[in-house]
């Protein structure tokens, strides 16, 4: 007959610690709050410039984006927005998965999907911002879609 170890009931669960005693759960908690404060500024600024100012959503097109990213200010703004919001959202979703997915395998699948989608979108989004070409080669009928500072557009 084998014996089974039964843990002492009601013993406090120790915080999960990574190798060198860093409490990742605590830093996640702090990150949600620190990023939240910055995101309020970044998101309301983003929404104001894109949806409220000028003609609002009607003004958004390729030339509009090119105009914004010609200014390093908006490049930095959008990069911060991408990284802070996506990691904040993914970490929040991780909390929710932990709360509701009681099946071990399912939980792993959900969290794996969160990690993969977050990493892929962070890389994609960052590449899009930093390899953006405001004046790409386009066929003659599309020249009018380019921003005016390309010298050929409308």
């Amino acid at each position: 007959m084998t014996t089974v170890d039964v843990e002492t009931p009601r013993s406090p669960r120790r915080a999960e610690r990574s190798g060198r005693g860093i409490n990742l759960e605590k830093w996640g908690w702090i990150y949600m709050r620190a990023s939240g404060v910055v995101l309020v500024v970044l998101i309301f600024g983003h929404l104001f410039v894109n949806l409220v100012a000028g003609e609002g959503v009607k003004a958004i097109d390729f030339a509009f984006v090119a105009g914004k990213w010609a200014d390093p200010f908006w490049v930095v703004w959008d990069t911060l927005l991408l990284w802070l919001a996506l990691i904040h959202g993914a970490n929040g979703m991780r909390t929710i998965v932990n709360d509701y997915a009681s099946n071990e395998l399912l939980r792993r699948i959900f969290k794996g999907a969160l990690v993969v989608s977050t990493v892929v979108l962070l890389i994609l989004g960052t590449l899009v911002i930093y390899t953006f070409d405001p004046c790409p080669d386009v066929s003659a009928d599309q020249l009018e879609l380019l921003p005016s500072f390309c010298g050929v557009g409308a």
Binding site: G36, I43, I60, D61, A66, L86, I96, V128, P136
Partner: protein, 149 residues
């Protein structure tokens, strides 16, 4: 087990000198921020809006990535955001993010401000009021952009 047996200690019986204390069961457990009433409903809304914004963000990064495909592809997709139905969707997004942002600041104040927990209900009222102010400012202007000439 009413019989006393050796080795057990029976609880003291109430009598005139030590009457049973009169207790009325509270309707809600006291001393919790998160069960029932404002604490719980603000949390439910915070969670739902957080999830909604997250899924929008996934889509939004992908549609923005189309600027690297071609101006034509980007404009074709972004023009969908200017239709009446998507215009209402943008309003819903601002409704959701407005609440999540304001209530998020309230959560932060509860956690870090020394008297935050004492004022959590008052702060919830303030959140709702600021939320309404935000939407009263945003809604007409956005609907004008989407539906107006």
């Amino acid at each position: 087990m009413s019989e006393k047996s050796a080795g057990t200690v029976s609880a003291p019986q109430p009598d005139k000198k030590y009457p049973l204390p009169k207790l009325s069961a509270p309707k809600m457990p006291r001393g919790t921020l998160y069960r029932g009433n404002t604490g719980m409903w603000s949390w439910v809304l915070h969670r739902i809006t957080g999830v909604a914004i997250f899924f929008f963000l996934l889509v939004h990064i992908l549609d923005t990535a189309l600027v690297r495909v071609s101006p034509e592809a980007y404009n074709a997709v972004i023009n969908q955001y200017k239709t009446p139905i998507m215009g209402l969707g943008e309003l819903g997004l601002v409704v959701a993010i407005g609440f999540h942002a304001l209530n998020g600041l309230r959560i932060i104040l509860i956690d870090f401000w020394s008297v935050g927990p004492r004022y959590h209900k008052l702060m919830f009222v303030v959140v709702i009021l600021l939320w309404i102010v935000l939407l009263v400012g945003f809604t007409p202007r956005h609907l004008m952009h989407v539906f107006g000439g």
